[in-house]
Symmetry: C2
Subunit: 180 residues, 2 copies
């Protein structure tokens, strides 16, 4: 961030009064430009014994497999965002969305919110952000070609929970040691 | 938003290529400035039979009662954000944080993420954003002086669940009809 989005003057990184964090503050009008984590909403959609994955047609992680998911938009609820992403990336029609994993990824300031749901029909197909959409049995999951840790963890939770027959909400975090 | 935070030129509201939503797009460098929902993280902290509320010393809803909560910061996990807010607003020390309510508030593009936890001691006190901090039994809750619907709903869930002895995660949304 170089310029104030309100008045167009330059900004500086400083700690505002009554604050403890560095913020971008306008050198002219004084507006404080807060930056906050983003929510990535998605679905683990199930058809019989199989789950739906999409192969990414976009960066990052082009060509790797993921759960349909993407950035939540203003004006949405989390489940609406998850269903929209499934529609955009896999033309998937869903029902019975239930909150399943809430995973913080603090080094990129994301929170992944994944719903478990039923995929209503076999009538799905890649959207513009997917190369391929496919149903996988547990033994077919391409574990070494998954796009994100949150996808792996959500799938691991699901196959574990399915054996137990209960699906609690999992609240997790991926913390990595950043280079100093 | 009037100016590009990257190059300082003017921005226009338009639908970018391969998009379906109006975005602020720089008239000069073309940067698309996405705007996304914010997470409000907080705690329902319990000490014996009582729960901790704070009376707000800031707008909006100055003077009304709330659960300690505030905007999640970049680089945090959701539970870290909730604990930080409890410390800032009530100097509260907590343990055993468990995800409890996840409530979308789409008309303001917020998602409230509230943890249920134990308040470790009676050694709490108002921070700069609180006029007062106090423990309440269920029959003492100032239902007509609560700051937010999400606070009311989380308290209702808690007192209901406590009677049952089980505390599932509640995923809800507050949708209101906006004036047209």
């Amino acid at each position: 961030m170089n310029y104030c989005s309100d008045c167009g003057a330059t900004v500086s990184l400083k700690i505002p009064e009554n604050d403890e964090r560095m913020r971008f503050v306008c050198d002219t009008c004084g507006m404080i430009h807060y930056q906050n984590p983003k929510i990535v909403a998605g679905v683990l959609s199930v058809r019989g014994e199989q789950v739906l994955l999409c192969r990414r047609a976009i960066a990052p992680r082009y060509g790797l497999w993921t759960l349909p998911a993407g950035f939540m938009e203003n004006g949405e609820t989390t489940d609406q965002a998850a269903a929209r992403e499934a529609h955009e990336e896999a033309n998937a029609t869903l029902r019975d969305l239930r909150l399943y994993t809430v995973i913080s990824v603090p080094h990129v300031s994301h929170v992944h919110v994944i719903y478990r749901c039923e995929l209503v029909s076999d009538d799905f197909a890649p959207g513009v952000e997917s190369l391929e959409t496919r149903l996988f049995h547990e033994h077919e999951i391409p574990w070494d070609e998954l796009a994100f840790h949150t996808v792996r963890k959500t799938l691991e939770c699901f196959f574990h929970d399915r054996k137990q027959g209960v699906f609690p909400v999992h609240n997790l975090a991926f913390t990595i040691a950043l280079p100093t």
